[in-house]
Symmetry: C2
Subunit: 399 residues, 2 copies
């Protein structure tokens, strides 16, 4: 048989899906599995989006413009202008999810062998896109003891080589829930300017900021128009992950012209998804108020429940809908598998994502899990109670 | 400003879109432009697909399985079984268009610097996907004088090096309309087996075969289960290019497991598109009879009209809905631009794709254009009349 590619062999399996066979078998045993492992919200998609789809009046589902419908890009530009991000529709390419936006950005800015620095733990698929594009991720460790705040700028500078082309951040952060402060974003701005690098900012959780904290976008940095590349998505904002619509945004015309060639190669983003995405921009403000209240209640409940458990610690996440918790176990990976395979409490069990998969440095995150608070409070209650009992019963307990 | 990637700079602009500014300006002058440059059919999407979308009853538009809905994959497996392609749902990954299927295949099977052989002229985006993946395309020339039939196997063997990992074909072919015979596919089968390579077969035009010719799929080859990788799409079959749904199909479990890691990285294919694609499998047979009749009438009319023009030659395409025509001009590129910029006949003009963009070998296709017969007969009549007049008036005419 012909050989597979080395990069294909190197591609990691998704850390949030590795345990799927065990959750399937738990379900086969009749157990209720609480899914805290994946960022699939249970919040309804806005009616305006669903209705736009139900009312489509098209005879031929044609390719759209490779950059996406102009009407959508114009309306989306308005959304950004309203949050003081000064772009017009020519600074936007509609993509197939935020994933494709990052692929276009990597392919447009980096050649195989070149490097990006990413604070770890980070969204595991950044690694996959890097491998697909042949680029190298240099992790810089943020620590649970520091609440996952930005590592010191000197630490970044130590990692910069002549192959370094940029820094990637996710703000608010998946998997930590950390919200970067304006001061931190400005520090990143200084360093990318000083070393003439790109700043790739993934801001798909922009609307999910808690405790009165304000989101400061990398696009708010003055004088960095050539450096900042924003990736975005409608998935979480409107709870419509399945529409697969994102966007690549930059004031750097050369980057956008190059990304456009990659966009043309794949012809166009999905038509129906664009219709839903465009309609979603008319979502009434009450929707977001409701979503905000729901998430903050969930977060408060969950963080409190976790920190009350003996030997468990998690910082208070200020954004997104994830937290990383440190558990008193020998190995979070073994523990997560054990909970699904060998444990039940009132015929329930929980599925979490072992955090080691979000670190690029081997050995880190051994005792940590990522938990997504994407379930209703009642379900979260059951899930937390189950987790507490599991920790007490786990044979590999370790403080 | 930070530098762009070399691969980004190397990415070609789409050959079918280069002339867009000229067609826009022709439209601004009030001229009717007949679009023969792009494979966007005017055929209505089947009602079953549109209705499935109009009747969706979902509260949350969630991610689907990364390989696509199981129900869709099972039904699609049945479609293949009905055309004697022996696959089940585990041999299928639903992708975002045929484009993504080819990207997954390239990334799973080839590392940067490795090579594929592709008969030219070929679908220009194969080049783009190759550049994005860092792989090298070795073109093998098929000639208009031979009706674009498969080059001799000895010619392939001359191109094979220790870096060659596979051969890519498109059957029926875009841009030539050539339908490979069973004997030709068997020859390709022999050579990929002998040299232990992959055969990447893009069969998105499978249903578009004329004159009683039967499609012989690379998947029909016996004993080549580990070698053959099929890419497919619903775009042309059901005239629903905008849904962005394709598929990667192979009996090679290792390839599929590797492709699945790339699929997981981008989370899932579009939900609405999958709903339309799945529903499209219930398209009644009359739809295809109607489409077939329409295309064969268009083809016959157009080929006849072209070959009647003084100095023009085109072979009779047996599949897809394109043909390559050789024109009596100094440069098809200049001619196509001139027709849009400086010519009108009854206030009409035509847009064609200069064929040079479909050849990887510099200098080839200088006098050739690709013409898509995706317009109604009446429009084709006007378009052909306009082309005839343009050829007569063109200052760079050359026999």
């Amino acid at each position: 048989m012909p050989q597979l590619s080395k990069k294909g062999i190197k591609m990691p399996a998704s850390p949030i899906r590795k345990l799927v066979p065990f959750s399937e078998s738990a379900k086969k045993k009749g157990r209720k599995v609480y899914h805290l492992n994946i960022g699939q919200p249970d919040i309804p998609t806005p009616d305006v989006a669903i209705n736009a789809i139900r009312n489509i009046d098209l005879k031929v589902i044609e390719y759209s413009h490779s950059a996406g419908f102009e009407s959508y890009r114009r309306k989306l530009a308005k959304y950004y202008q309203d949050i003081n991000i000064d772009v017009d529709h020519n600074d936007i390419i509609i993509t197939t999810g935020g994933s494709e936006a990052l692929s276009f950005a990597f392919n447009s800015c980096l050649d195989p062998g070149e490097e990006v620095i990413i604070p770890e733990p980070f969204y595991a698929n950044y690694n996959s896109f890097a491998i697909a594009s042949g680029i190298v991720v240099k992790p810089i460790t943020s620590r649970i003891e520091d609440g996952f705040s930005l590592p010191a700028i000197e630490e970044f500078e130590k990692l910069i080589t002549d192959k370094t082309k940029g820094i990637v951040i996710c703000n608010p952060n998946n998997p930590t829930g950390y919200l970067y402060s304006e001061a931190e974003i400005r520090q990143l701005g200084e360093i990318v300017k000083k070393h003439d690098m790109f700043l790739f900012s993934d801001e798909v959780y922009r609307e999910f900021c808690y405790d009165g904290e304000k989101h400061f976008s990398a696009m708010h940095l003055e004088g960095l128009e050539k450096h900042v590349i924003l990736t975005d998505s409608v998935s979480k904002r409107y709870s419509e992950c399945g529409v697969r619509i994102g966007a690549l945004i930059s004031k750097n015309k050369e980057v956008m012209a190059t990304a456009m060639k990659f966009a043309q190669a794949r012809l166009s983003p999905p038509t129906f998804g664009q219709i839903a995405g465009e309609a979603s921009l008319d979502t009434p403000p009450e929707y977001f108020t409701g979503v905000y209240k729901e998430y903050i209640a969930r977060r408060n409940f969950m963080i409190d429940a976790l920190n009350k458990m003996d030997g468990v610690y998690t910082p208070i996440p200020k954004g997104a809908f994830y937290t990383i918790a440190k558990l008193p176990v020998d190995s979070a990976e073994k523990f997560c598998q054990w909970v699904l395979e060998d444990f039940e409490y009132n015929n329930q069990t929980v599925m979490m994502a072992p955090a080691a998969g979000f670190y690029a440095t081997k050995g880190l995150g051994r005792q940590e899990v990522r938990i997504a608070y994407v379930l209703k409070i009642d379900d979260l209650k059951n899930a937390m109670e189950t987790l507490d009992m599991a920790l007490k019963a786990y044979p590999g307990r370790e403080i």
